[in-house]
């Protein structure tokens, strides 16, 4: 079966006043359809830069990639039609109503007016947002906001949904609800989910497979079980211990500022 994401030597260098920075040095990645992939790495490892390349926000300076059946370099517009992306900051205007944001988003994906309205109602019912449709986004709680952000990424039934730090800032109850939602999105619609996270318990509980990047390269990948066994010698040790063994660094604290690109 064709993988939903396949990259070969995907790289990005930035030219700054002090010289060239190799943010991502060559990522080789294969993500099969229907997988929930946890993308981990210490701050500055190249997580965000990779995510921005895969979502067409940043042009790669090297390598190649196919995302959702389209070549990332030659056909970014094709990629955009088939992926959903939920940034850490969300992406809704607090002053705009939930309904208008969802409908506008559907229209941006070129659904016509009637389709966009129908899809808004359908998604709101599915993600428990129906009672909130006419509120401004600013009036939503953290958990409700996150559900809306994810709904925004799903308006066009994407093949793959990218989630950047989806549970950062959520209370424990909302986090668990969000995990259930992510599983449901995969189970019900077969959507591939690519998520970055700072929480290793989240990666352990939610992801089918983990990819660990460090210094711009993939340094380990496998199931949480396999990584624990391989790097600490015991499947019963914590993912944290495996992470430290892999990267030689402690876990990034969740309250640390995410790295800039």
């Amino acid at each position: 079966m064709t993988p939903v994401i396949h990259t070969t030597g995907l790289a990005r260098t930035f030219t700054t006043k002090r010289g060239t920075v190799e943010a991502v040095r060559g990522i080789d990645l294969t993500v099969p359809a229907g997988e929930i992939l946890g993308f981990l790495g210490p701050n500055g490892a190249g997580k965000t830069t990779t995510l921005r390349m895969l979502t067409t926000l940043l042009a790669p300076t090297g390598g190649s990639a196919t995302v959702a059946g389209h070549d990332l370099l030659r056909d970014p517009a094709g990629v955009r039609r088939r992926i959903g992306y939920v940034a850490q900051s969300g992406g809704v205007d607090p002053a705009v109503s939930v309904r208008e944001e969802l409908t506008t988003q559907a229209r941006l994906y070129r659904l016509d007016q009637a389709q966009a309205r129908a899809r808004t109602t359908e998604l709101a019912a599915d993600l428990d947002l129906s009672d909130l449709l006419d509120r401004p986004c600013a009036a939503l709680s953290g958990g409700q906001r996150r559900r809306l952000d994810i709904a925004m990424g799903l308006v066009h039934h994407p093949d793959v949904l990218f989630l950047d730090e989806p549970t950062t800032g959520l209370d424990p109850g909302s986090r668990v609800d969000l995990w259930d939602l992510v599983r449901r999105i995969r189970d019900e619609w077969g959507t591939t989910v690519f998520l970055t996270t700072h929480y290793l318990d989240e990666a352990d509980a939610l992801a089918d497979r983990l990819v660990v990047v460090d210094r711009g390269l993939v340094v380990a990948q496998g199931t949480a079980h396999a990584l624990k066994t391989e790097y600490t010698g015991s499947p019963d040790s914590s993912l944290q211990d495996a992470f430290i063994a892999i990267t030689g660094r402690r876990t990034p604290a969740p309250n640390e500022t995410p790295i800039a690109v």
Binding site: A59, D75, G78
Partner: protein, 289 residues
């Protein structure tokens, strides 16, 4: 092209066979030369969508409508009466000299700050969220610019109506020509403003740049008093300022003279609009910007 490559990676040509049928719907990627009807329709629909979104926001926020017009109105009401018996050297009375200048000033203080909206949206992640969708990059700019043009025309009508209440008399055709200049100037200044806002990270970087450009441009365009009063060196410098010719053209139109001065205004306005839009489009098309 939706995602132009960086200098080190030349973009390969689109693959005609491999492209899936819906690829033809995207305006810039598959048909850089002559857009197909479907692509053109998608582009128009995208532009109207963006235009509608920001028009609704402007109307509901109201603050944007008030922000730009306060200063020109204050000049009109508190400064205009001072000029009534001052010899200004031009044709027409003092209102026919002042109001055209204030229309351009309105552009400088309203359209030039249009980019502020994008800076705020960037902080909410709205800009990135839209850039990940297939929406036309050009529509993201033009939809906003169209909204700014409509907003500026409404503000201009208010300014002219208040002007008439204070004693301005001008031929209708001349006033309509003036509104045409306002629309072109807004397209230019708003595009530049959006381009700048896309490139900087914070209002703290944005505002000083706009202010430091705006003030000399305003003073050198003869907004308050015609440049015919200026000494030679000052007059010379102001000739490098495209807005000078537009102020002169609007003044000329306000006294019913539609000759060479208006023509020079049209040329400079079109030139400035072309340069500004090209620059704006370039910034909006660049991935990651």
């Amino acid at each position: 092209m939706s995602m132009p490559s960086t200098p080190s990676t030349p973009t390969p040509p689109p693959t005609p066979a491999a492209a899936s049928p819906p690829a033809a719907r995207d305006a810039a990627t598959t048909t850089p030369g002559r857009p197909e009807p479907a692509a053109a329709a998608a582009f128009v629909s995208d532009t109207l969508l963006i235009f509608g979104r920001y028009l609704r926001q402007t109307v509901s926020a109201r603050i944007g409508l008030i922000f730009g017009i306060v200063q020109p109105l204050l000049f009109l009401i508190l400064f205009g009466p001072l000029l009534r018996d001052v010899p200004l050297g031009g044709e027409g009375d003092s209102w026919q000299t002042l109001v055209p200048g204030l229309l351009v000033q309105l552009g400088l203080f309203s359209a030039a700050f249009a980019g502020f909206g994008i800076l705020i949206e960037k902080q909410y992640g709205v800009v990135e969220r839209m850039r990940v969708t297939p929406v036309s990059r050009l529509a993201l700019l033009l939809g906003r610019v169209l909204k700014d043009i409509v907003q500026m025309l409404v503000q201009s009508v208010v300014l002219v109506v208040v002007g008439v209440a204070f004693g301005l008399r001008a031929p209708l055709l001349g006033v309509l020509i003036a509104f045409g200049f306002v629309a072109l100037m807004t397209a230019s200044l708003a595009s530049l403003s959006y381009a700048l806002a896309m490139r900087v990270d914070s209002p703290q970087e944005f505002a000083p740049v706009v202010n430091s450009v705006n003030l000399p441009v305003m003073l050198l365009s003869g907004i308050l008093l015609p440049m015919s009063l200026a000494p030679g060196w000052l007059d010379g410098i102001s000739r490098a300022n495209p807005l000078r010719y537009q102020v002169q053209a609007v003044r000329s139109a306000f006294v019913g003279d539609y000759g060479g001065t208006v023509g020079m205004g049209v040329l400079t306005a079109l030139g400035l609009a072309a340069v500004s839009l090209v620059l704006g489009v370039r910034v909006f098309r660049r991935a990651g910007a």
